[in-house]
Symmetry: C2
Subunit: 357 residues, 2 copies
């Protein structure tokens, strides 16, 4: 294996060195300058995250960044401990300090009363955030690529997202901890997705070119997981219809970012926040609601729910709120997950936390 702690851009093919610099520019376009920072790579050991780690190692000297890596062994498959050790060896060969934890995700799923996929996601992000704080990293880097983004758009379409949510996951996520979420407390998230515009093909090519091995997670093929079914069953059909699908996905994503920014600006000032934690309240006065048209008001409802840190609201709940407001059927109270309530009255709407059902 040609990997060594001094790997740099010159060790990559010219095309892959260009890709590395494009990745940096992409993050700059998202308002994040990576230079001189401390970064924690979320390393599953699969092709995507292995490529992410190698790419940033090659960028280390150019950017002047310090790297760490973290792997959560989900203990769901017999081979997972060996995979964790392979991650450790990879990091050792690249001179990257390595965090490892083994967590029984199946047990967590029972404890948290949620599915295995959701428990894995939650345990992983909590672990990553813990490691980030421990090593003092500015950001956690994850290896989501444009194939994951396409998958995410289809999942959101299927689950019923509106616009711009339909445009898929963000490249920069800077969320505070949630005291109360659908499944209890959730860790803060400071996440970058630098590979979001890249194709898996490019990442695999780079690894093959360098002779770097990775580990295929057998569960990625399992039809048990919804995300895999989108990836393995639906996406190939759409790609067969249009081999340039990923170009469209990138464009749609950019336009969703654009529109999100636009609506954010337009709605900034519409929502009045006060208090912290479970004492937090968000209100939108009647005057503001009247000044917005329906398209804006629906987004104001959604933004308030988002800021109450209870995840994404269902579109039909937002439509019901809008109808109550429009037809002046107040006072009316809506309940959200985590004990959050919204009360609509003639004076406007108020979101607050209340333990009563």
């Amino acid at each position: 294996m040609p990997l060594h702690p001094e790997i740099c851009l010159k060790d990559l093919s010219p095309a892959h060195a260009r890709m590395a610099l494009d990745v940096v520019r992409f993050m700059e376009g998202q308002g994040v300058s990576l230079g001189g920072g401390r970064l924690l790579v979320a390393l599953s050991g699969g092709a995507d995250s292995t490529a992410l780690l190698v790419l940033f190692c090659a960028l280390r000297s150019t950017l002047g960044v310090t790297l760490h890596a973290a792997h959560l062994d989900h203990a769901l498959r017999a081979e997972s401990a060996a995979e964790a050790e392979a991650c450790r060896a990879l990091c050792a060969s690249l001179g990257v300090p390595f965090f490892l934890r083994r967590e029984d995700v199946a047990e967590r799923a029972c404890e948290w009363q949620c599915g295995i996929e959701e428990a894995g996601r939650r345990a992983r992000y909590a672990f990553l955030e813990e490691c980030r704080l421990q090593c003092g990293a500015d950001w956690v880097l994850t290896a989501h690529h444009v194939g994951d983004l396409a998958e995410d758009m289809l999942m959101r379409f299927t689950r019923g997202a509106g616009w711009p949510g339909l445009g898929g996951m963000r490249a920069v996520l800077d969320e505070p901890a949630r005291a109360e979420g659908e499944h209890g407390a959730e860790a803060a998230r400071r996440i970058l997705r630098p590979l979001l515009m890249r194709e898996k093909r490019e990442l695999v090519e780079m690894l093959l070119g360098l002779g770097v091995q990775w580990q295929e997670d057998a569960s990625n093929q399992s039809r048990e997981w919804k995300r895999n079914r989108m990836r393995n069953d639906v996406l190939p059909l759409l790609l067969a219809e249009n081999p340039s699908l990923y170009d469209n996905v990138r464009r749609l994503w950019r336009s969703a970012c654009e529109d999100r920014r636009w609506w954010d600006e337009r709605l900034s000032g519409a929502l009045a926040e006060r208090g912290e934690g479970t004492a937090r309240e968000i209100s939108i006065p009647a005057g503001v609601l009247v000044s917005l048209e329906r398209a804006g008001r629906l987004r104001a409802w959604a933004e308030a729910v988002r800021r109450m840190d209870i995840g994404q609201a269902r579109a039909d709940t937002l439509e019901s709120m809008e109808e109550v407001w429009l037809k002046r059927r107040f006072p009316r109270r809506f309940s959200f997950s985590g004990g959050v309530k919204a009360e609509i009255e003639a004076s406007g709407v108020r979101f607050f936390w209340s333990p009563e059902r």
Copy 2:
């Protein structure tokens, strides 16, 4: 067969009578009052359009409308002439004047140098518009339902539509004739899609309840057509993930309508039009372009292309125009189908028709 020229809402089950009235209310919500009008039903003879015809026959006395029906025999399958005769018989039993034409669509595809699907679409809409003018109908009614809408959204996603285009086909289409289109001249279209929020299941149930027969078009199962592959391969996978998918599709469609209206209002006045036919020009002065942010400007480019009657512009062309404008790389000329050009200069952009390449 219990069909007769006096069929009315009382002949339907209460649920289907309610559906019929919902359909009328849906069109009213779209700003179209059907009462007292003259309507032409596009009748393929399949379940959807048969249900559409029966539904509007049952509404005839309530609405005070006059109905006609039209069937284009595409001459692509051996059984098509028999199907056309079945349509004639159905209309006779319902007392609806019937237009029939047989057109060799395969031949048209050669002549127009386009695919069979596209040739069929174009021949069909030209025929329907001809019939509409002949019988003096206000609108052509087509039987697109929420399953077709979901399919259309997926097609648009795959082909690369932006927002709100991604929200799918309109319920009301009122387009003038196009002198020059991608495949030459195109007929005007005045189309309503009253069933757009209904499910095929409801339509079939109504027909079964009334004992009305319809004809299964075998080519609907053919994997040769892109639309069928979406319908038969992709949609069932998404419906398996979320059985309430169609609720989300309806909501997404409504929100796209909302946003389209919103952007239309915002952009009205931004585009200056003059002239007719191939002398038509649309311009957007620099001052207006500067006043719009990127999200608005991209939609202004798209709207201008739409008004030049050359179909939908490719999103990457619109992005290139935006880049030329932003980076002030003018003068620069873009070419669209049908001989339409766009010229970007410091003074703004001008769309015009020019035969030169």
